[in-house]
Symmetry: C3
Subunit: 346 residues, 3 copies
């Protein structure tokens, strides 16, 4: 009898990527109210625009979209089998933009273009840069971002490719942001949204401790990660990771963003991802808390809509507002350092 | 750099409530089949009217509504940041009525009117009475109930308000109950509902042991509580409650009600909440069982529809039908003592 | 006061079954996108036809159906209170066929016909054979299967019935399989499906190690089992099973099938269940892995659609491809041995 492992996906190794390749990722997904309900069960998400059709309609949208981070997770999850199955490390994000809200009934798929490769000096690994796009059933791009990962070589004798390192923006300018069509915060209901603080109430440099915490359970992070069809075994198989199942970094992002409601209830729509680092690994039993810092602000052309650039930090201990040690490295209790743009009523 | 906690919600203290105040609670919510599926995943809920569109249509409704207790949880969850964030104890419920079934696609919001305040003699706390209403996207009241809680004072020097204690009914009369429009049990299918016992088969004073039990897990009660956007930190943050995350009382109510299917499969629609006490705290690892007692019965004007008043008791040990000790206090294994009205085929 | 346990369901005992009886099972269920989202959260399910409306439409269907195993679980769950509440053992399955895909919005109910009874020589138990059918809201049979269970007698003095043992096929012939109306794989998108392997790439006798593993959590198997309204207490009540809550066998089936995506991504639609054994019990903490063996292949009349008969084995340890010991018995790490037919692009 033939015993085959060649039918299973071994993932791509560093030498399998070439600049200009377009990877068409598998398993498109139709989202529904089921994904929204699960998102609200898995995270303490309370932003009104993503909770209520009526509220979203009051803001000029057709109905309440799927959470922006849920859309990100769906798009991201599809890339894992082609991009990060043999990754040693997830090195960074840049130039992330949400272009069109995703609604129940939409079907998403993902594509990634290889935009950079650079072999490391040890000859065993290399860095791969991809620009990933999520597309809906009308082939419209709903979001895009650049990610770079360190990937192992399988064949150490494969020649090093010509190094290509893309020039990436340190952060998006406000002018790069795309405001969803029709968005209008001029009749925004602050009572229903949960807090009175508007765009003008936040100062650059201001820091906010979001106070609340959530202790993480194995069942929850696995359900979340599977929902996005991210099936990387490090998150699920304790026999593969006897020290503990590593929690998908996106679970920490969504948890911290949901916790940030307390102090940023009106930071409704995420439109830009400037960068992000998963500073330390997260495991079940950790209690996640979050704090934010206002990095920048800008007006927009949409009625009543302002943009705020925020740092969102997730921790598993320690005091708020502490990020790096004297050596410039992230403190051991810091899980996430995320830099993003949101839209807020003015 | 400014470090602000003033942007987060500190909750209201006793001196912040005045009789006549109307609190417009935040974060309206649109419900879908996702909430229904999760309700059935989190509780062993089997009442046919809430499981099948066809069955509900056979009872004169447009389709299968969201579980009555799910509607209650959605309405209740919104009140937590305004009513019980600084509560020392949840003291009681009264005059609860379900007025209009909630269907997938409906958007719910909540309002509470302060109907009583009474400072305690210690000068440190007081009791606040609110009448809460849940409204749908057509501004129709779908349910209402009175709740009273003991709340801390922040400013101990704040003067005691004129005490106002509302007169509340010990229990609703059958005439107070609102039967959903069109409800008709004259062609009720007992086979599909799961049990042959009709209204006439239950006697006042009869007690029913529901036999089944469920051992509670952290992930489940947190998912349930978040789904209702109740984000009180006692339920989620083990660093805040090192002795164990306290389980939301509503999780125990829904679990006990679902377990009561075994013996009360035809107790379909909850229409009245006469009162209720969370007798002891519940923690993960507890095994919940339930028993019921028939307190009262009444006919209704709707075809084939009778009303039954039930006591529903949830326990985490001990024998069924034991409620209070010789001292008149709830036994330590009693979690819940709920008094409610349901509709049943005659 | 009357204390009644007679209102709860004691389940049927062996002497309560007679050949020809038709059991109309309770609690019909309407499924929605909520069930689909939960299925994807509970299992690493990635088959594209069950994930994307667009992909399903590209295969000639109206939209993406509910997973075939989810439909099986819904149908099966309803039978538990009438068939297996007093079962000592679930002995086997045969002649299972999926006849019509189940879509969000469909309402399912179940009926079982008793087709065999045979008392065991010990006089204390007997074997009951039932043919179960799942029906939708148009009274169309969407699936059917035969199951036989060993059931306790309650009255040991009840006379042994005339033994009737139905003749059951050892396996369905390809000609027995029903191909969903309109199914057409001639424009099948292998990139979006996730693997290039088509019907012609699989050989009879070939074995595939699916590589990935999932460590099981209590919260997950209980949520899954409740979602299918299977409320057998062995799965939920630790006070009833102090050695551990026994995991519903269907949870293992769905987990193994989802894991088999890695190597069988194009084995899209399950259309036949030839047989199956739950070889050993599964408990929380076990890590499930899976391997498959190609047992048979056949062409079909539908355009581009081939059928493959597979053995799917789930394990909680040990090496792949090991099934039975020298004594012919299943090895202790084998959880499941399932024999089924799937449809695959040619």
């Amino acid at each position: 009898m033939a015993q085959s492992q060649q039918k299973t996906n071994p993932g791509r190794f560093f030498e399998d990527y070439a600049v200009g390749d377009v990877l068409k990722h598998a398993v498109p997904r139709t989202v529904s109210g089921g994904e929204r309900a699960l998102y609200h069960a898995l995270y303490p998400a309370r932003h009104a625009l993503y909770s209520s059709d009526s509220f979203a309609q009051g803001c000029g949208l057709a109905s309440s979209p799927i959470d922006d981070l849920a859309a990100f997770h769906v798009v991201f999850g599809k890339t894992v089998p082609d991009v990060s199955l043999n990754a040693v490390a997830n090195l960074g994000y840049a130039e992330g933009r949400w272009l069109i809200p995703v609604y129940p009934g939409d079907t998403l798929r993902s594509e990634s273009e290889v935009i950079g490769v650079k072999q490391n000096s040890n000859g065993k690994t290399g860095v791969v840069y991809v620009r990933t796009r999520g597309l809906n059933q009308r082939d419209e791009v709903v979001m895009e971002y650049v990610r770079w990962v360190m990937v192992r070589k399988s064949d150490l004798d494969a020649p090093a490719p010509e190094p290509v390192v893309p020039e990436l923006k340190k952060g998006l300018d406000a002018a790069d942001l795309v405001i969803p069509e029709g968005l209008d915060f001029s009749a925004y209901d602050f009572d229903l949204a949960g807090e009175p603080h508007r765009w003008g109430d936040y100062e650059i440099g201001e820091q906010i401790d979001h106070v609340d915490g959530v202790t993480i359970e194995e069942a929850e992070h696995m359900m979340a990660t599977r929902l996005w069809q991210n099936t990387a075994k490090v998150h699920f198989d304790l026999s593969f990771r006897p020290d503990g199942r590593l929690i998908y970094g996106g679970h920490v992002i969504s948890m911290a963003r949901a916790l940030s409601f307390n102090g940023l209830a009106n930071a409704q729509m995420i439109v830009g991802l400037n960068g992000g680092a998963h500073a330390n690994p997260c495991f079940a039993g950790d209690t996640i808390k979050a704090w934010s810092e206002v990095l920048d602000k800008s007006e927009t052309a949409a009625p009543g809509v302002g943009a705020v650039r925020l740092r969102l930090v997730a921790t598993k201990g320690g005091a708020p507002f502490e990020l790096r040690g004297a050596d410039g490295k992230y403190l051991p209790d810091v899980l996430l350092d995320l830099d993003y743009w949101v839209l807020m009523p003015m």
